[in-house]
Symmetry: C2
């Protein structure tokens, strides 16, 4: 076990105390980085006996302050537990340590012809255990479903040091309550995930991507319906973003020294990215070609670009994947990820712009303290991301946005967190998405697993 000893300076602990947006700042003096499940167990047992609070931390890529201390909680970082434990090519069942990095695991699976059923912008640093603990959604959910369906088993250390082990990882097992489900999305509040068993699908041998420009959000919805019908079982992603997001990405790429190039003859108000994954490229290209013709004929798209090779495949994906990073370059970003019925999705971005405009914070074309408001997300899942780029994080601005943003979500019976989780940011607002009965049951669950309340306090469902 490597513990930062007394000689470590405050600076050494900074990357563990701060989140990557530089929005949340803890003051912990202790980071422990255990190497085995047994060590995690011993640490938790000790902390539980002594009544010491602990924050579990994976890749620290969260967006709601869930993996940083609020005060001086002990940070238990999983980074030293990163091994792939086993992979069975017959069943596709992968077992790994919680600290394994998503991209590493996906690359490992790619070599065997399999794919990790989850993909995220943060894949280069986020960890599988953190993904499961936050029930991460991401770019492949449309095709492969949620982690509640793909995770087959977990190894979890409970607050008193007990190890709960369901790593056997059978595809089907109806022998009692499916306890592992409670840990998926529990944000480190009832146990620390140390191992994950998950079902990896066969990697598609053919993949294609296309990006369209469109003139209205109504057309985005129409294109979504045509795409589902035309591509059927090979549709693997359907993402949208608005022109404000696209402009930020172009600016960011230019600043990064990339040569300016015209992707679309006709730019639009909205953009849609469609990805297919299948087992026969001829069939897939034919389906995609038929779809394109139909969309053109019906004048649902203004322009379209189809990747011709691997390089273009990745550069088209970058238009979507670079949005969060580009927003970060434009200022301090207030990030909201919301579930609302698809027809209502974009109106929330418009309402937010109006609200900020009325408060004198945002002006069309720039010039206000809010530099930009962009909307993008996973249409297929009803999941909208709103990024609000401010000159800096500021209580005054926050009060204009929150709880207003949660109120307009609640009006549509949506979720105030589609995938980012509650963390410290949204803990006070859970009532906008959950009933008093649900919240009361959640408190009972927390008490059952963590009676002393040592795990990730002040967050999630506050008891």
């Amino acid at each position: 076990m490597s513990t930062l000893d007394g000689s470590a300076s405050v600076d050494d602990l900074q990357p563990f105390n701060d989140d990557w947006m530089n929005k949340y700042h803890g003051k912990s003096q202790i980071v422990v980085k255990p190497k085995t499940t047994q060590e995690v167990s011993e640490i938790l047992k000790y902390c539980n006996d002594q009544g010491l609070a602990v924050v579990p931390q994976g890749g620290n890529t969260g967006l709601v302050g869930g993996s940083n201390p609020v005060y001086d909680e002990i940070i238990l970082n999983l980074g030293n537990m990163a091994a792939i434990r086993s992979f069975d090519e017959v069943s596709g069942i992968l077992q790994c340590d919680a600290g394994a990095i998503l991209e590493n695991v996906d690359n490992y699976l790619a070599e065997k012809g399999f794919i990790f059923p989850l993909d995220l912008g943060a894949k280069g640093s986020c960890q599988i255990g953190g993904n499961v603990a936050t029930n991460a959604g991401g770019l492949r959910l449309l095709r492969y479903g949620s982690l509640h369906g793909t995770v087959l088993g977990l190894e979890v250390v409970l607050p008193d040091g007990t190890i709960y082990d369901s790593m056997g990882g059978l595809r089907k097992d109806n022998t009692g309550f499916d306890l592992k489900q409670l840990f998926i999305g529990s944000e480190g509040t009832i146990g620390i995930i140390t191992g994950v068993s998950i079902l990896a699908p066969k990697r598609p041998t053919a993949m294609n991507v296309a990006v369209f420009s469109l003139s209205s959000y109504e057309d985005v919805q129409k294109v979504f319906n045509e795409t589902k019908a035309g591509l059927g079982e090979i549709l693997s992603a359907f993402e949208f973003f608005d022109k404000q997001a696209y402009e930020l990405v172009k600016k960011h790429m230019k600043e990064g020294g990339e040569a300016e190039r015209k992707v679309f003859e006709t730019e639009g108000e909205f953009y849609v990215l469609v990805e297919t994954g299948g087992s026969n490229n001829d069939h897939d290209e034919e389906k995609l070609q038929n779809l394109l013709e139909k969309l053109m004929e019906n004048e649902l798209i203004q322009d379209g670009v189809l990747a011709q090779d691997q390089t273009q495949f990745h550069s088209l994906w970058k238009l979507r994947e670079l949005i969060p990073e580009s927003a970060g370059k434009a200022g301090s970003v207030y990030k909201y990820d919301l579930s609302v019925p698809v027809p209502k999705m974009y109106s929330l971005v418009e309402k937010m712009r109006e609200r900020l405009s009325e408060a004198g914070l945002w002006k069309e074309g720039g010039g206000g303290r809010i530099r930009e408001v962009v909307g993008y997300g996973h249409i297929g899942d009803g999941n909208l991301h709103i990024n609000i780029c401010a000159d800096k994080y500021d209580d005054e601005i926050e009060k204009v946005i929150e709880p207003y943003v949660y109120e307009i979500v609640a009006e549509e019976r949506g979720s105030i967190s589609a995938e980012h989780g509650l963390g410290v940011m949204k803990a006070p607002y859970i009532g906008y998405s959950k009933s008093p009965t649900s919240i009361e049951l959640m408190k009972q669950v927390k008490k059952m697993f963590d009676p002393k309340g040592i795990l990730n306090p002040y967050k999630y469902v506050v008891v």
Copy 2:
């Protein structure tokens, strides 16, 4: 609310007290059939206050005695709550009462171009609420995944009458513990499911089915690997059965008056059924044709039949679907559904035959008290069904089979119940599949939700 009054005879209650295999027999004097969630709530509140035990009952098609009283528990039957509440064609989200019958719901969805993500032999009488309460698996799991991934929300009445409502049914929602997951597969022990919100996929517009005869279980596995590679995203079912199962089906069909017809030129030791579902029939047929040629070339199959029309599609499926019914005609059936690694699956059937032969109960070719032992199941899910047809249910026979069958499963770290659940039949054997830590946590969950222990006592995880 319709309650059977004092004038009902014992015979009237028989269908509620007995299970359909005629293996489990309760002695309840009271059946209640509420029409609304509010009525369910009032009944449970009353029973909880008075300390009266209640058995929730759906279509009563279970195989482990989970939906019948053990003694004189009050039967709460959901049959009068069978409405489809709403369906949204944009998102594919269906909301229905727990008592809705699976086949009715699937037919309703078919008219709209959607499919229920679950299919079972008992679809004509099983109910959605019961399917969720038992986490039913069935024939479409390979393609659409488990109910833990497809169920989006539940309405559940807790033992004290409180209504837990998460029917909003968003595709993504990370605001606190995903409590609904606990009810999926809880077998009516912590709450009574009254409403279900579930994601229905688009119904494939092209469907094909083929059945192959093979000479060994090793070839079954090889064909499975070739099929996954060749059919990729359009593979929707991969079922296998042994020649003993096939003989029972042929006999049953003949006794039912169907004209005898030769399905295969060359019969085999094993049979495999492959189903595809896609959005372009030309593409699907080409993939299937290529696969067939490859399997013939490599001599992995002895013979193959491809359905040419809807009638043949259904008659080929009947070869697989009629197995349980045909076994039932052959005697009193001991049914086991087990999860084990695919390479080990069939050896369990062989071990069971050996065991019964050594005990003088079974002879190759017939003549013993055990008339037949058949193996079939869902290779894609690692799920094996063993049916043992006896002259009658008998403790002596049972003692030869159990716990032996659970011991050989535990040796392979498998599950003693892949999909049927625990009920009263397997409650005593949970230790073969779950650790003491898991069982202890389950008992705590039960106590948290049902402190007086009124719901479905003597079953599942016995506190």
